[in-house]
Structure formats: C-alpha cells, structure tokens
C-alpha cells in the first residue's frame, strides 16, 4: 500500500479525476476464464466452487439489485490494511513524533532561550511584510491551526481525550471538529494557494543558502549566516511544508471531503493514509515555524503583525536582504519609531 510510485501516480489520477468531475466505476466485466473454470468444475468436481470464491475475492463488482456504489462487491480486504496502518504506525509514530518535537522545542527554549538582538535597535524601521502579505499569512496561519487541532481531535481524541472527557463530550467535540475541518478546509486551500503564489519568488534558492544549510543556520556555531529576505530554514518550510505537504494534504483531503464522486473505498483509504502522514509531518514542521515566529526570536512576531522590523534586526538576521535595501536594489518602506517602545519589544 505504501508503494510510493503507486501513491504518487494515484495522486495524479485523483487530481485529474477531480477536475473531470466524474469518474465511473469499472463496468461489470466477469472474468471469462473463471466462469469457464467453474462450469468445468461442475462436471468434473461437483460442489467445488473455488473459481467462484476467487472471483468474489477479486473485488470485481457483481450483479446486485440494490443501487449504490460498490454494492455489488461482496468483500474488500484493503480496509484491514487501512485499519492496521492508521491504528498502528501512523498513530504510534505520528503521535510520538509530535510529542518529541514539542519536547525538543521546549528544551531548546529552556536551555538556550529566545534569539535576541545583539546590537541596539536603531529606531529606523524597514517594512518586511506588506499589508496583503500579512493578510495572506494570517489567513493561512489561522486556518492551518484550526485544521491541525480538529484533525488531532479526530485522530488522537479516542486515545488521549476519551479517558479524560468521557464519551458524550468527546462525541460533541469530534462532531464540531468534523464540521470545522470540512468547512474551514476550503478556506485553508484557498489561502494556501495564494500564500504559495505570494511568497514563491523570495523563496527561490540562492547561493547563500548553501552555507546556511551547511551550518544549520549558525546553530552549529560560527554565528548566524547572512541570508536574503528568507533564510534557508524558512525556504525549507516553504517548499517542503507549505508547498509539497500543503498540496498533498489538500488533494487527499478533497478526495475525502467529497465522497459523492463515486470514488471507491480503496481510493479513500489510500487518501486517508497519505493525508494523515502528510498532515503529521506538516504539523511537526509547522511547530518549528510557529516557535521561531513567536517566542523563539525577538522581533519576528512583531514583523508579521505590524509588517516592520528594526534595521538592527534586518542586519543581524537577513544581512543580504538588508544590504539590498540599503543599496536600493529592493524598494522597501521605512519608518521612524519611538526608540523606547522598540527596546521594550526586542
């Protein structure tokens, strides 16, 4: 089931099939060979129905007078695989991965503390994010958090919350989560697409990113490596997290969100597995991004809230970007702010 090529091929097929709007189940085509075998068996070994059982096992839809998708299929075994993967590795490793990321971030914060400015703020402010960029960022950020929390309730609620809350509260919370997850999904996908378009240009890889990656952004010593508007860490989050995982989560999510396009159970099982794996990785990376954007680095949250950073902040964290602004290569708005308030913030 986890055959990567097959899954990738399948994602493509699903994308095409969503665009087409309708895909039809395979026409009822009985396996001629098995029919002949069965007819032969009847004279040679009366009562041996093995070919019939094989045909049932093939998963081909048979004749059935009850209308409905796959109602002519007697038995589907892939549900067991889906169950084993979901209740097994995905919940176990996925759950512990998220716990491990939270613990690692907490330890790092306790031991090293937030990254503060070394120099004094100048009071000269440079615009880092325009109004539209901030609107797009917060749209995708808020919808991401709603999708993540509601998704966690549905995946881990039974294990984590049920012993604490009991059945009635969990059911209420899960129902709320299901509706939020289903409806906010569309807003999330829309803001995700606009985010990708808005931030793609400045996330293209540059020569300077190589050194940043080699020293893990200065984490391995040697101080912070000069970077452009976004450093390689932010670019990694953009390409791997927002772009790849975001699109995978969106496509598989749409397959599950609209079960009325005649997709089979197997399609939805694969979609659910891919969705869960991608979502857990997306959340794990997202935790890192949220940490750096809030308590991990002084001035980072302010930059996405107000749009402005101090010159010292720009010089220390994004030196190449700062030089480009100073040399006039990049046009950025500047502003003078009250120094006292700034020092309090940084």
């Amino acid at each position: 089931m986890a055959n990567l090529a097959r899954v990738l091929g399948w994602v493509g097929v699903v994308a095409a099939f969503i665009l087409a709007g309708a895909a039809h189940a395979q026409p009822v085509s009985s396996n001629q060979e098995l029919i002949q075998q069965q007819q032969q068996r009847r004279s040679e070994q009366p009562g041996n129905n093995a070919p019939v059982w094989r045909e049932i096992r093939s998963g081909q839809p048979q004749f059935n007078s009850v209308p409905g998708r796959e109602s002519g299929v007697l038995i589907v075994s892939s549900g067991q695989t889906w169950r084993a993967l979901r209740d097994g590795p995905i919940m176990r490793y996925g759950g512990w991965l998220l716990v491990a990321v939270v613990v690692a971030i907490a330890l790092y914060f306790l031991l090293r503390g937030p990254i503060r400015l070394r120099g004094k703020p100048t009071g000269r402010m440079i615009e880092r994010f325009g109004g539209f960029e901030r609107f797009v960022h917060w749209s995708v950020a808020i919808t991401f958090c709603i999708m993540a929390i509601t998704g966690l309730v549905i995946l881990f609620g039974k294990v984590v919350l049920l012993p604490l809350t009991g059945h009635v509260f969990l059911s209420w919370l899960a129902a709320l989560s299901k509706y939020l997850h289903n409806f906010v999904a569309l807003l999330f996908i829309l803001s995700l697409i606009v985010t990708i378009i808005t931030f793609m240009r400045d996330n293209l890889l540059q020569a300077a990113d190589r050194k940043w990656i080699a020293t893990a952004g200065g984490l391995l010593g040697g101080g912070e490596v000069p970077s452009g508007r976004f450093n390689a860490g932010e670019k990694g989050w953009f390409w791997i997290g927002v772009l790849i995982l975001g699109i995978v989560v969106s496509i598989t999510g749409l397959v599950l969100l609209f079960p009325n396009f005649d997709q089979t159970r197997e399609t939805m099982q694969i979609a659910n597995i891919v969705h869960a794996i991608a979502a857990v990785l997306f959340m794990a990376l997202g935790l890192g991004h949220i940490y750096m954007g809030t308590i991990g680095m002084a001035g980072a949250y302010r930059s996405m809230r107000t749009g402005y950073v101090d010159e010292t902040w720009a010089k220390e964290h994004h030196a190449l970007w700062y030089e480009d602004i100073k040399s006039g290569k990049i046009q950025a708005k500047t502003e003078q702010s009250a120094l006292g308030e700034l020092q309090r913030q940084h």
Binding site: I56, S71, S77, G79
Partner: protein
C-alpha cells in the same frame, strides 16, 4: 452465552431478495439505506451462478469498532456489534474499514455530507431500553430482546440464510454438507470470525459506551 452469527449457504440462495425486503420493512430502514443486499456472481451463466446475501457479519475483531474515533460501537454479550447514534459523528471511518460494506450513511445536506451511520443490528436494536420507541426509531426492531431471531433469516424461503448461535447454525450447515456432499464453504466466516480453531472463542465483552 450464545455467540450470534450469520451464515449464507451459497448452494441454496436463489437471490429472491426476501431478506432485503424483510429487513427494510421490519426495521423501517431510512430511505436510501439497505442494511442487507444480495449479490449474484456470474448472473445468468449456467453452471457458474451463485448468490450470497450479505449484511454486517458482527465480526469478532470488528474493524469498525477499532477505528471509530468516538468509540461509539460495541459488542453485546452475544457478540452482536451495535452502535450509539447519539455519539456517531458520521465520519465514515467504519465504512472504510468494513470488509463487507455494511455501514451506510444517509446523505445529509449537500456535497455528500454524511449523516449518522446505519447498519444491520442483528435485529438487536441499540443502547436504548429494549423495545422502547426511541430504540425503534433509531435502530429498528429489537427482536433478540423478544426472544426472536433476525427477520431476514426467519423469512428466508430456502433457509439459505441462517442466523443465530454460531455453534448451532454451524451444526445445521455441517449436516447439510454431509448430506449433499458439496458446497462446504462458509462464506465470510474467516474474515468475520477468524480462522476456525475448534470452537470459537467468545467475543471480548465490552460495556456499552
């Protein structure tokens, strides 16, 4: 206590759909939902046609119970798999997991939004008080509480569909196979009740949620 099971004898089923109709009528099943269906393999091909009636098989290690994110499904003392519609959120996970296609969802609102799951209850109702109006409206008749077996099997014209204590119906079937000397396959039992190992273990007992 008896472990309730279904058994469909493929040598006897004539695809009359009497079981489907009996179930719909007795349980006043919601529109668009069929708790039982009859599938015909090689329909109209002489010498190769076989029919099987299938519904929830009330599995021992039920995948639907395992994957339900709100834990709304449970085994009764008789091994019947029931669910609590008041807790069900209509996520569809039981439908992904079930090998027999038993869980059904009435469409609620636009875009295939799922309502609360509905499936065969072995004519055993739900968690409400036995025989109560609330139980009937949500799950249909509780015939087991009245000392009766599921109506689909009771109405079966050729007695192809057997329902009841697994040991008893297995004995009936064994006798048939001995007499006719063929058709010994018990369809679906390996998947639903595990490999045969000389007398089935009773289903793990669980309290109602």
């Amino acid at each position: 206590m008896a472990r309730m099971k279904f058994l469909c004898d493929a040598e006897r089923c004539i695809a009359c759909n009497g079981c489907v109709t009996a179930c719909k009528n007795e349980n006043e099943v919601p529109w668009g939902v069929n708790r039982r269906r009859v599938v015909t393999v090689n329909d109209g091909v002489p010498g190769a046609e076989k029919s099987i009636s299938v519904a929830c098989m009330h599995c021992s290690d039920a995948p639907c119970i395992a994957v339900c994110p709100v834990d709304c499904m449970y085994h009764t003392e008789q091994g019947v798999v029931l669910h609590d519609k008041d807790l069900c959120i209509g996520c569809g996970y039981c439908f992904y997991a079930c090998p027999f296609g038993a869980p059904q969802f009435p469409q609620e609102g636009a875009f295939g939004l799922r309502g609360k799951m509905d499936k065969c209850t072995f004519c055993a109702g739900g968690p409400e008080a036995d025989g109560s109006q609330a139980e009937f409206e949500k799950y249909g008749r509780n015939r087991l509480a009245e000392g009766k077996l599921p109506l689909c099997a009771e109405m079966c014209s050729t007695k192809a569909l057997l329902a009841g204590d697994g040991d008893v119906i297995a004995d009936i079937f064994r006798q048939r196979v001995t007499v006719r000397g063929k058709g010994s396959e018990v369809w679906g039992w390996g998947t639903a009740y595990g490999p045969p190992k000389g007398g089935q273990k009773p289903a793990p007992e669980r309290s109602k949620p």
